[in-house]
Symmetry: D2
Subunit: 96 residues, 4 copies
Amino acid sequence: MPVCNLSLQIIPVVPEEQVYPIVDRVIAMIAESKMKYVVGPMETTMEGELDDLMDVVKKAQALCADIGAERVLSVIKIDYRAGGVTMDEKMAKYKK
Amino acid sequence: MPVCNLSLQIIPVVPEEQVYPIVDRVIAMIAESKMKYVVGPMETTMEGELDDLMDVVKKAQALCADIGAERVLSVIKIDYRAGGVTMDEKMAKYKK
Amino acid sequence: MPVCNLSLQIIPVVPEEQVYPIVDRVIAMIAESKMKYVVGPMETTMEGELDDLMDVVKKAQALCADIGAERVLSVIKIDYRAGGVTMDEKMAKYKK
Amino acid sequence: MPVCNLSLQIIPVVPEEQVYPIVDRVIAMIAESKMKYVVGPMETTMEGELDDLMDVVKKAQALCADIGAERVLSVIKIDYRAGGVTMDEKMAKYKK
C-alpha cells in the first residue's frame, strides 16, 4: 500500500473557549500514533498508509465525542499517488 | 455506531477531458454500495456508519488508480454527531 | 469574466442548537443574491462570476458575526475554467 | 476589518508533472503579496484582512489560467473571528 498524505481539520461544535482544548487532544492522539505529522494553522497533515491514516480520522471523531463535543465537523484532504507521495517532496523547498 | 454524513470530492490529476469519466466511475461505485447518497455539483454526500463511509473513500482512491489516475486529490467532509445525523434533517426544508 | 462554481460550507462556532438557524440565514442571503444556487447536505453551491461569488462569501462572514457567531469556520471550493463551467454540465445526468 | 486566516489549496487540472510548477508560481505570487503566510504540505495559509485575502484567491485563479491550467479546483478555508484571529495563537505551542 503506497504512502500518502492526509490532512485533518477538526471543528468541534462547542462554545468557542472549548475549541482549542479539544483540538489539542486530537493532535496529542496523532502524536501518539507515531506517524509523521506536521501541525498547521488550519489542519494537521500526516503521512502513512491510507488504512492507518483513516484509522486516525475515525479515532478523532470518537475522541471528540468522548471529551464533550457531541458534534464535530471534519475536513479531510487526501493526496494519493499509486507510487506514493511524501510531504517532503512538496515542502523541502519551502523549509527555512 | 451512529449514522453520519460524509461528502467526497474526487479530483483526479489527469488531462481535463478525462476528469468526468473518472468521477462518473466513482459515483457508480457509490451507487453500488447501496448507501443513501446525493450527487451535488462539487461533491457526493453519503449517509451511513462511519466505517462503511470510510471504506467507500478508500475504494475510491484505489479505483481511480486502477482506471488511469495515478494521482488523485480528495476532499472529504464528515458531519458526526454522537446521536446520529441525517441528510434529511438538513435538507428537508430546501427540497422543492 | 467566466462563469464558475463556488461551494460554501459555513460552520459557526456556537452551541449546537444555534447552528441551523445561522446556516439558514446565510442560505436566505444567498437566495436574495439572485444567483443560481443548489443547497446540499454539506454545502451550498452557487454559479456566477467569481467577483460576485466572492462577495457572497465575504457577506456570509459578516452576517454570521452580526447574528451571534463571533467565530465562523468556512470551507469554500471553487471550480474555475477559463472558458466557464456550469453546475448543469456536472449534474444533468444525475438529476432524477 | 478584523485580521483572519485563509488557507488555499490549488489543484490545477493538468498532467501530473505540471502540477508542482504551477503551485510554485501561486506560492511565489502569495510571497510577493507581503502578507504573512505559512506553506504546508496541502495548503498555504495566509493572515490578513479578508478583502486582501480574497484578492489573492482571485488572482490565483487567473494566474493558473494564464500559465496553462485552463481549469483549476481550489479549496479554501477561512477562520474568521469578529475580534480577529492569528496563526500564532494556534501554532505557537506546536513550533519546534
